[in-house]
C-alpha cells in the first residue's frame, strides 16, 4: 500500500470551503473560551483542547453523512461541535451542567450525542478503537451503509487494542476509518522516543489495510483523503488507516505546560506558521471567495455564538441531586 501526501483536488465548492472555515473558527474560539473558563474554575477535571488540530475534525467530518458514526478519544470538543452538537450543549457539559450533552455526567472527556451518531468521548488511550470497529460491525450486521470514523492520537498506536482491532477490522471487512491524529506528542513524550515505527501508515501493511498519509494542517487535504476512505468503507466495506499529521498548540491538557521539557517554544511558534485556519482563510481570500471584512464578520459571529454558549452554560442549573443514581442501569 502506498502512503503519499496528495495535493488537494479542488473538487470542493466555495460554499463548503466557507463552511469548513467557519467550523474551524468556531472550534478555535470555543476552545479559547474553554481555556478562559477553565482558568476561572468554571470547568474542572481534565480538559484537552483542540487548538491547532481543527482541520482534522472539520475536514474528516465534511466527508461524512449525517447518520455516520464518529467516536473519539478525550480530545473531542472539535468533533462534537462539527457533528452538530450545539456549542451551548458542549459548553454546558464542560461546565458539568444538567443542560450538557451528557447531562453533566460526562464532562470534557465524555461528550455524547447518540442521535447524531456522536458516540463519545472516551478517556482510556486506545480503549475506544475497538468500539469504533464495533459500531461498524453493527452497521454491517444490520445491513446499513453507515460508516464509522474513529479518531485517536498517535500515542494510542502503541496500545494493544489498536493492533487487535485493525486485525479484526481487516479480517471481517468492517466499514471503519481509523483516523490517527498524529500531533507528535503523547502528553510530554515525543512519538519517536517510544515508537519503533514512526510512520504510522506503515502499520496498515501488517493488517493488509488501505492507508494514507495526510497533511492535517489542511482541511481540504483531510477532506479528500477521508472521502476516499469513506467511499472504500461504504461501497466496499473495507477499512482504512489514515495518519493525519497535525500539531497541538496547547499543553496535553489544561493542567500541562505548552512547552518546556519536551518541546521548545520555537517549535510551537514554527508550527503555528502552518495554522490551518490562516491557511484556508488565505486561500479563500486569494480566490476572491471572501474578503477581510467577510472574515471579520464571520469571526465576530462565531465569537458571539461562543460567548452565548458560555452564558448559557453559566446560567444552566447543576443536575438534580437524585441524578446521581439515575442512568447506572437501563430499564
Amino acid at each position: 500500500m502506498t502512503a503519499t501526501a496528495r495535493p488537494p483536488k479542488d473538487t470542493l465548492n466555495a460554499e463548503l470551503q466557507l463552511k469548513m472555515l467557519r467550523q474551524m473558527l468556531l472550534i478555535r474560539r470555543f476552545e479559547e473560551k474553554a481555556a478562559e473558563a477553565y482558568a476561572l474554575g468554571k470547568i474542572g477535571g481534565f480538559c484537552h483542547l483542540y487548538i491547532g488540530q481543527e482541520a482534522v475534525a472539520v475536514g474528516a467530518l465534511a466527508a461524512l453523512r449525517d447518520d455516520d458514526y464518529v467516536i473519539c478519544s478525550y480530545r473531542e470538543h472539535g468533533q462534537a461541535l462539527v457533528k452538530g452538537i450545539s456549542p451551548n450543549a458542549v459548553m454546558a457539559e464542560l461546565f458539568g451542567k444538567a443542560t450538557g450533552c451528557s447531562k453533566g455526567k460526562g464532562g470534557s472527556m465524555h461528550l455524547f450525542d447518540a442521535k447524531r451518531g456522536f458516540m463519545g468521548g472516551h478517556g482510556i488511550v486506545g480503549g475506544h478503537i475497538p468500539l469504533g470497529a464495533g459500531l461498524a460491525f453493527a452497521s454491517k450486521y444490520q445491513g446499513q451503509d453507515r460508516v464509522c470514523v474513529c479518531f485517536f492520537g498517535e500515542a494510542a498506536v502503541n496500545i494493544g487494542a489498536f493492533h487487535e482491532t485493525l486485525n479484526m477490522a481487516s479480517v471481517w471487512k468492517l466499514p471503519v476509518i481509523f483516523l490517527c491524529e498524529n500531533n507528535r506528542y503523547g502528553m510530554g513524550t515525543a512519538f519517536e522516543r517510544v515508537a519503533a515505527v514512526t510512520d504510522i501508515v506503515e502499520h496498515a501493511c501488517s493488517y493488509d489495510m488501505a492507508a494514507e498519509l495526510v497533511d492535517g494542517m489542511n482541511a481540504l487535504t483531510v477532506y479528500e483523503a477521508t472521502r476516499r476512505a469513506v467511499e472504500r468503507a461504504r461501497k466496499h466495506s473495507h477499512p482504512t488507516l489514515l495518519e493525519v499529521r497535525t500539531y497541538r498548540y496547547m499543553g496535553h491538557s489544561m493542567s500541562d505546560p505548552l512547552h518546556g521539557v519536551y518541546r521548545t517554544k520555537d517549535e510551537v511558534e514554527e508550527q503555528k506558521a502552518r495554522d490551518p485556519i490562516t491557511h484556508l482563510a488565505g486561500k479563500l481570500k486569494e480566490e476572491g471567495v471572501i474578503d477581510q471584512a467577510g472574515l471579520d464578520a464571520m469571526d465576530a459571529e462565531v465569537l458571539a455564538e461562543v460567548e452565548e454558549a458560555v452564558k448559557f452554560a453559566d446560567e444552566s442549573p447543576d443536575p438534580e441531586p437524585d441524578e446521581l443514581f439515575t442512568d447506572v442501569l437501563a430499564e
Partner: protein, 327 residues
Amino acid sequence: MATLTYRDALNQALREEMQRDPNVFLMGEEVGVYQGAYKVSRGLLEEFGPQRIVDTPIAELGFTGIGIGAAMGGIRPVIEFMTWNFAVLALDQIVNSAAKMLYMSGGQIPMPIVFRGPNGAALQLASQHSQAWEGWLTHIPGLKVVAPATPADAKGLLKSAIRDNNPVIVLEGEMLYNMKGDVPDGEHLVPIGKAEIKREGSDVTLVCHSKTLSVALKAAEQLAEQDIAAEVLDLRSLRPMDEAAILESVQKTNRAVVVEEGWPYVGVGAQVVDIIQRDAFDHLDAPVQRVTQADVPMPYNKVLERAAKASPEKVVAAARRVLYLDS
C-alpha cells in the same frame, strides 16, 4: 420438562434467544467451527451461520471492545470467554466501556451485552487457570452478575441476561457443564436478582452460589446426619444481590455460613456478611463464618489443590462452629 446437562441448557438458551431475536449474536474464540471450547455453542454455526456465530482471533480485549461497540450500534452481542481467566485481558473494556457507557452518556447509550464463560477452578489447571473472578466483577456499578448452579438456572438466567438492556456477566462453572437436571422447555426465565432456597432448614443458613451449591448441599446432608437442619440459599445473582432473601433466612435460622470459590479478601462472602451484620445483627446468635478458597494462588498438586478448595467438610466444620458445637 427435559433432563439436560448444564452445557445443553446454556446451548438451548442461546439457540432460543437467537431464534427469537435476529439481533442476538455470539462472538468468541472457537465458538463456531470448533463448536465451542466446552461445546456450549454446539450446532449453532450450522443453524445461524457465520454472520451470527463469529469466530475471533485470540484477542480478548479487541473482540470484547468490538462487541461493546456493536451493542452501542443497537445489536445484542453475547461474548464468550474461553475462561474468565482470559477475560482479565478484556477487563478495561468491561469496566471502562461497558459498565459506564449508559452513565457517562447521561442515559443515551444502553449496553445490552452478555459476557459469559467458565469461572473458578476445575481440576489441576494450576494458578493461572483456576480463579474465581466474581469478587472483582461484582464490585463494579453498571454491571449485573449472575452465577447459575443448576441446568435450569443456567438456561433461565442466560435467557434473562440476553434480554436485559444492561451488561450482564454470566459466570458458568467448568465443573458444572456435565451436571444434569430438569430444565423447563421453552420460555423459562429466571429473574436476575432473585436467590432461591435449594434446601429448607431451621438451624443454620448456608449461603452459596455456582459450584459451591453442590458443596453446601453435601454439607447439609452431613449435617442432617448430626440432626442439624441446614438451609441452603443459592444466591444465583451476585449483583444485584437478593438481600431480602438472605435476611429472611438468617432471621429464621439466626446463624450463617457463607461459602464461595473465591479468595477471602474482599470477596462476595464479605458483602453477604456486611448485609447480615447491617440488617440482621439482632437476629444473630453467632458471628457469621466464611468458607472460601485458601488465600493462595491455586497449586497444581492434587492434594494441595483439594486442601485449597471449599469442601463439604469445611462447611460442616464452620456450621458446627456457628452452632457452638465446636470451638
